[in-house]
């Protein structure tokens, strides 16, 4: 106990005495650790932003997409009830129909086409749906006597004279019996020059336009580790229930780009760390030569060769550990102050916590490079004869 504490105290004391020299060598190590930790964290955030953007388009990780293979005689409502039953049996908490509908809205110029979707309330959760204005559907909306719509800006411009969704404008959907529908929310545009887009609750669509809706697509949000299993089980169960669906298999490596980037950055960081370590080794060697007499004096105090070895090694390790801590702290400070809104266009919904594994990797690299840089001077220090050292 006293041996270890003594060696650490001794190492710290040496660093204190030679702080200017050591500090210069450690700047490189601290910078490298900052680079490794900070950029790993930044890449994690970048990956999260990409993933969220991707999930807005095609559902959360992991969302299984299912398409009807056709051929069944059942009505969309019957298909939906069967799919609901299969999802419930497999305890899939979030799933949603993605039904297409062929509906016309009164007042449209000739040739104007509205992209209709009939969905369930869960669709917003699965696709991280954000609202530009107003709100998303609720379960209570299914019981309303008139349909409610969530639309995009192009729809409002074309059919509601650009009235904001917050004023709840109404539009008339043509059919055998025209129906007045109320707009309750506006979704953000997905791309430039997007045409009119409208979403309706599937249950309401079935009530008002049963013949114009096709329950031809579904989304199931399942745990990533069970995705492959579900991708096999679901089509089998759905087919057995009489509703043949093709279920897309999950991709093994959904975000390859950010991983490549991460490895690239880690490589650069590792190289920087190596350079920092070489600088430290250089300083440590010079310092040990300069301190030969002192090492001899310490041997006269009863320092064993093991203790001298450990002490010199510890100087390097303690120094790089401190540099590592500084590097991680700087990385945290930088990452916490990145203007995410400005870089990614919108704030992250699920801001990833600071990647502790990256911090641990950074610290481990710092300690490792300290041990390597300390090894050669430590061997040198032990090999010096005590008498020669004292007379040095």
């Amino acid at each position: 106990m006293t041996g270890v504490v003594g060696a650490i105290l001794e190492a710290w004391d040496e660093l204190r005495i030679h702080r200017v020299r050591v500090l210069l060598a450690l700047i490189g190590v601290a910078c490298a650790v900052t680079a490794i930790t900070g950029i790993t964290a930044a890449v994690t955030m970048f990956g999260q932003a990409m993933q969220e953007e991707n999930e807005r388009m095609s559902g959360r990780d992991t969302t299984l997409e299912a398409w009807s293979m056709g051929g069944q005689e059942m009505s969309p409502a019957e298909v939906d009830a069967l799919v609901d039953a299969v999802a419930e049996r497999h305890e899939i908490s979030y799933h949603s129909v993605r039904a297409t509908a062929d509906l016309r809205v009164r007042g449209a110029e000739s040739g104007t086409y509205v992209e209709w979707s009939a969905v369930d309330v869960d669709n917003a959760t699965i696709t991280r749906q954000t609202m530009e204005e107003g709100r998303w559907f609720s379960d209570a909306d299914a019981e309303r006597l008139a349909p409610v719509l969530v639309v995009n800006q192009a729809f409002l411009d074309a059919y509601a004279d650009g009235a904001p969704a917050s004023t709840h404008p109404t539009v008339v959907i043509e059919g055998e019996t025209p129906v007045a529908a109320t707009v309750i929310g506006e979704v953000p545009v997905q791309w430039n020059d997007e045409g009119p887009r409208a979403l309706m609750l599937f249950d309401q669509a079935m009530r008002w336009f049963p013949d114009r809706v096709m329950a031809d697509g579904y989304r199931f949000w399942v745990p990533p580790e069970l995705a492959a299993q579900f991708a096999e089980v679901l089509p089998r169960d759905l087919a057995a229930a009489g509703v043949p669906f093709d279920v897309q298999k999950p991709m093994d490596e959904p975000f390859v780009i950010d991983r490549v980037l991460q490895y690239l950055v880690l490589g650069v960081g590792g190289f920087a760390l190596l350079l920092g370590g070489l600088g430290l080794l250089n300083i440590a060697l010079v310092t040990v030569r300069y301190r030969i007499r002192e090492i001899g004096i310490r041997r006269s105090f009863g320092a064993t060769s093991g203790r001298v070895f450990f002490g010199v090694l510890m100087e390097s390790v303690v120094a790089t550990t401190v540099a590592g801590v500084v590097g991680v702290v700087v990385a945290v400070a930088v990452i916490k102050n990145i203007p995410i809104d400005r870089i990614f266009g919108r704030p992250l919904e699920d801001l990833p916590g600071f990647p502790f594994d990256a911090a641990l990797v950074g610290m481990a690299c710092a300690v490792g490079i300290g041990a390597l840089a300390g090894l050669i001077p430590a061997i040198y220090a032990v090999r010096v004869k005590v008498i020669d050292a004292i007379r040095y």
């Binding site: 004391d13 005495i17 320092a303 203790r307 008498i387």
Partner: protein, 261 residues
């Protein structure tokens, strides 16, 4: 001297191989015993092997042949780790050039050996170091660095450092060699008193006959052979003065000690 001596050298030799293949005999069959609390002085010219003998005594070097018994235990059988531990536990060193650790305060210098101690000594090192510095009269210079201290003060710090672990033997290699006569006498008085107070044996290597004369027993090392000599203090002081240029008044004493008159 009764019972087992603290230090017992029996027929110790030390040879070194020279680059030209010849062998240099530094020590030839040295016999020396030192009892607990005893003060022993070894005199001799430069290059006669005094420091080698001291290094062997302090477990910093090993004899080529012969036996070294420390409290009856042959140190030749000890492994390097045990040797280092005994060196730290049993010996305190005072060097001619003080050998203080640069950049550290007097207190840190004196506390340094306690970093290699165990138990209470380790955890109470600041208190013990402060007490040791107070004993040598430097209680008011705890935070002063060696470069700000005079030669005498630096040697006092070195003495405080040698005493701090309560060694059984203090080995002083020319402790007054870098000091003027007056300061050297004061330092030796301090060293003698401190060794007597703590019950430590004191082995002093010196050129100065007056310093050697303070010891209980004196030896002369010449051509690798250790011979017992007898110095009485006044004669030795006169001889020292003669060496410094005064008329020879104690030639016999000087000749006995093996120094040129």
């Amino acid at each position: 001297m009764t019972g087992t001596p603290l230090v017992d050298l029996q027929g110790v030799t030390r040879h070194v191989e020279l680059p030209n293949g010849s062998t240099l005999e530094i020590l030839r069959g040295v016999d020396l015993t030192v009892g607990r609390g005893e003060h022993v002085a070894i005199v001799g010219r430069s290059g006669t092997g005094k420091s080698t003998l001291l290094n062997i005594l302090g477990l910093l070097d090993s004899p080529t042949s012969g036996e070294y018994l420390l409290e009856g235990e042959p140190v030749g059988r000890l492994r390097s780790r045990a040797l280092a531990r005994r060196r730290g536990d049993d010996f305190g060193f005072v060097f001619q050039q003080f050998n203080l650790l640069q950049g550290r305060t007097a207190l840190e210098n004196v506390a340094a050996p306690l970093l290699y101690a165990r138990g209470k000594q380790f955890w109470s090192r600041t208190k013990l170091a402060t007490r040791s510095l107070e004993r040598v009269g430097l209680g008011d210079r705890l935070d002063t660095r060696p470069e700000k201290l005079s030669g005498g003060e630096q040697q006092r710090v070195a003495i405080a450092r040698a005493l701090v672990r309560g060694p059984r033997v203090i080995l002083a290699d020319e402790p007054t060699g870098a000091l003027d006569v007056e300061t050297g006498q004061a330092i030796m008085t301090l060293l003698d008193d401190a060794a007597s107070e703590t019950g430590s044996a004191l082995v002093t290597i010196t050129h100065d006959l007056a310093i050697a004369a303070r010891a209980d027993r004196q030896f002369r090392l010449a051509d690798g052979v250790l011979v017992r000599i007898h110095l009485d203090a006044p004669a030795a002081v006169a001889e020292s003065a003669a060496e410094a240029g005064a008329p020879p008044a104690a030639v016999s004493a000087a000749e006995t000690a093996g120094f040129p008159a």
